[in-house]
Point group: C2
Chain length 298, copies 2
């Protein structure tokens, strides 16, 4: 018999992931800070819990997918948190992107109560969450990773056990360092090309298939040329993840100058009220710096 | 009858390109500053010229593939340069990566003598030159691009006419801005991952297929983990191309902070005598900065 599952955090990502768990046949309890977000899942067969602790008392495996480190600390360790209701031997899977150090601390506190934890941050956007094609980077003990596999496979495709507690979060931050570095390169290249009077569509076609190519350029480059700022991933969340990477780099004593540059651009965009736009709107910061605007079809 | 072709500059790239022109059946004359480099092509059926001017007097189309702006100026405009021997209506195709501004100036001087010019910088490395799979970014008049097509198709696959004189060079610089930006992101991510104690092979496997992915990460990431510094493209040439991008950005008045950062790292590596290593040895500058060395299979 499969283990019963609880899901905390029914945002853009969690909503799709919880639906995929129901589709895969798991007995599912849900909890969300804004209670109305639970209605659709309850209509689909989930049961609504009255608190994270209440949810945990009914489940073998509890998945958390919230925004930031303090949110995870609240729903796991806070008043009415998971830790106060969890059954002995239960497994917490944290799919949020949060601090690797805080992750290790939470895992230690849970272990003292006989509870297990995996950090399992996700990548692939709301589309990947809806389709069940997420990439999942998992940190924790091998036995618990094996135990979690049926649940993880219901939500994602490329599931990699990358190391012990916190390693999933660290790899996610590596992922984000690459994402924002590639985005910076793309935006700088577009602004340079615009200043040089190039046709940006032809330029994109000429460079995207070779050594200059990236997922970012292929997926977000055309969006920039259409000035379509709809988010695959918002500036607010990108800025949060870059902040986590900078904090981790600072703790580790490693310089990350490119990531640091990206952070300040994202901060500038938030100050302009653009936090809910897609992370490729990064180019607006560079356009403002350069005093020009990139345009397709010149 | 196809036009007769001359090739100036039989370096790593030019050698393979000239061979492909012979294979495609073109009547080929060659010239190289170091004369012994011509021997193998002469053995394959090319004729050796005694100077760029001498070569130009025998050819309808002259291809130049040398290192830098002054080299092109010398073989085209200098003593015994192409301009002094070229037949009326001849076409010069410059496959070198040089200054877009200098390109427009050379094209103007040639036009005053009734000569045509295309800038057609290439991408794809020595392997692409040998296999005839180069990407070629072409700037110049449409009629001349059409005229050049049989010759370009003998050397490359992805041939894009991107605009007027100098536009090919500008797009090549856009390409290089993307290449070094993606390389910086990769190196920063690896050093961060190493500092965090991650298994770098697992990390690479977890992130390279998603939103963090790039040609650079997929092709050069594994080479870095093997500490294999053999060049697809050398640090010396990369530094030269970045210098051209910075000069063009300065002329255009557009800030390129990421590219500027890359330039100084490449300068540092040249100062350490590493100019002939592959451009992914960029990570050595970051390792020195961070005081650690990335390693596979921890």
């Amino acid at each position: 018999m499969s283990e019963s599952v609880g899901f905390i955090g029914l945002g853009i990502m969690g909503h799709g992931m919880a639906h995929n768990l129901l589709r895969a046949g798991f007995e599912l309890s849900v909890w969300n800070r804004t209670a109305s977000r639970m209605d659709e899942l309850v209509a689909s067969g989930a049961s609504a819990a009255d608190s994270p602790a209440g949810l945990a008392s009914q489940c073998d495996i509890v998945i958390v997918c919230v925004s930031d480190t303090p949110d995870v600390q609240t729903v796991v360790l806070g008043e009415n948190g998971v830790i106060h209701g969890a059954r002995s031997g239960a497994l917490l899977i944290d799919a949020s992107t949060i601090s690797p150090r805080a992750t290790r601390e939470i895992a230690e506190q849970l272990a003292q109560r006989g509870l297990h934890m995996l950090d399992a941050p996700i990548s692939g956007g709301s589309e990947g969450a809806a389709k069940g094609t997420l990439s999942i980077m998992v940190g924790g003990e091998s036995a618990q990773v094996q135990r979690a596999m049926p649940v993880l496979r219901a939500m994602g495709e490329n599931i990699t056990h990358v190391g012990g507690a916190g390693a999933g979060q660290m790899v996610k931050l590596v992922n984000q360092i690459l994402v924002v570095g590639n985005a910076l390169a793309m935006c700088e290249a577009f602004v340079f090309a615009q200043a040089g009077g190039l046709d940006l569509e032809k330029t994109l076609a000429a460079v995207s298939g070779g050594a200059a190519g990236s997922w970012m350029l292929s997926m977000r480059g055309p969006q920039i040329l259409e000035r379509d700022w709809s988010p695959g991933f918002t500036i607010d969340l990108q800025q949060k993840d870059v902040r986590l990477a900078l904090a981790a780099a600072d703790e580790l004593g490693v310089p990350v100058p490119v990531t640091s540059m990206a952070f300040h651009y994202y901060r500038a965009l938030q100050a302009q009220g653009l936090g809910s736009e897609g992370n490729h709107a990064l180019i607006k910061a560079m356009e403002r710096l350069a005093g020009i605007e990139v345009r397709a079809g010149q």
